[in-house]
Amino acid sequence: MKEANMELQEIDIYIEKDGQVRIEVRGVKGQSCIDLTKALEDILGGEIESREMTADSYENAEDFVLSQQRSR
């Protein structure tokens, strides 16, 4: 049941008029959350102004996967 373990990963990107970019990643478990956007940050020059991290959506991601399984 490989499919049941798959998760929907979503990235929101906001690009300001001056080119400043805000990247929001939700629903990605563990360290892969940071790995996911490394290449993206590099191509944008890698000059990070701020980074906030929250653990809560780890649970959210779990909930999402569980509710998907239940609906099958």
Binding site: E10, D18, V25, G45, R51
Partner: protein, 135 residues
């Protein structure tokens, strides 16, 4: 885990830069592996060199070449003459950078299996993109 990251965009990728230049009206752009000289409006060779060049004939009669030269850290710096800075101002560079960020972000995430789900221009000119993948 969620994270929110804010980045001051710097141009690093020539392909995305070429697409951004097309968005602001320049579809004739030279991309070189090694930096080439820029030329002034009288056809005079300038000391400045650049890897990505918009030649003056695509800009305006009294214009000089506009170049983007790669710095040691891999980011590109715009070379715009004082004359051309009236039109190709800080504001123009900001808009170019916004278009660069758009093309660079979409291309990089598509490489990683994401697809562009929605895209909108919000009030004030901010672009909002949503990209998704199953993994």
């Amino acid at each position: 885990m969620s994270h929110f990251t804010t980045i001051r965009t710097q141009i690093t990728d020539p392909d995305a830069l070429v697409k951004a230049l097309a968005d602001v009206g320049f579809d004739q752009v030279e991309v070189h592996q090694s930096a080439q000289h820029l030329y002034g409006y009288q056809g005079d060779q300038r000391s400045q060199t650049a890897e990505v060049i918009v030649r003056r004939q695509h800009i305006g009669r009294a214009s000089n070449d506009i170049g983007f030269t790669r710095r040691d850290d891999g980011t590109f710096e715009a070379i715009i003459s004082e004359y051309d800075r009236k039109k190709y101002s800080r504001q123009w560079l900001d808009r170019l950078t916004q278009r660069y960020a758009y093309h660079a972000a979409v291309a990089k995430l598509e490489e990683q299996g994401f697809t562009l789900n929605t895209e909108e221009v919000q009030e004030g000119g901010r672009i909002h993109l949503v990209l998704r993948r199953m993994a």
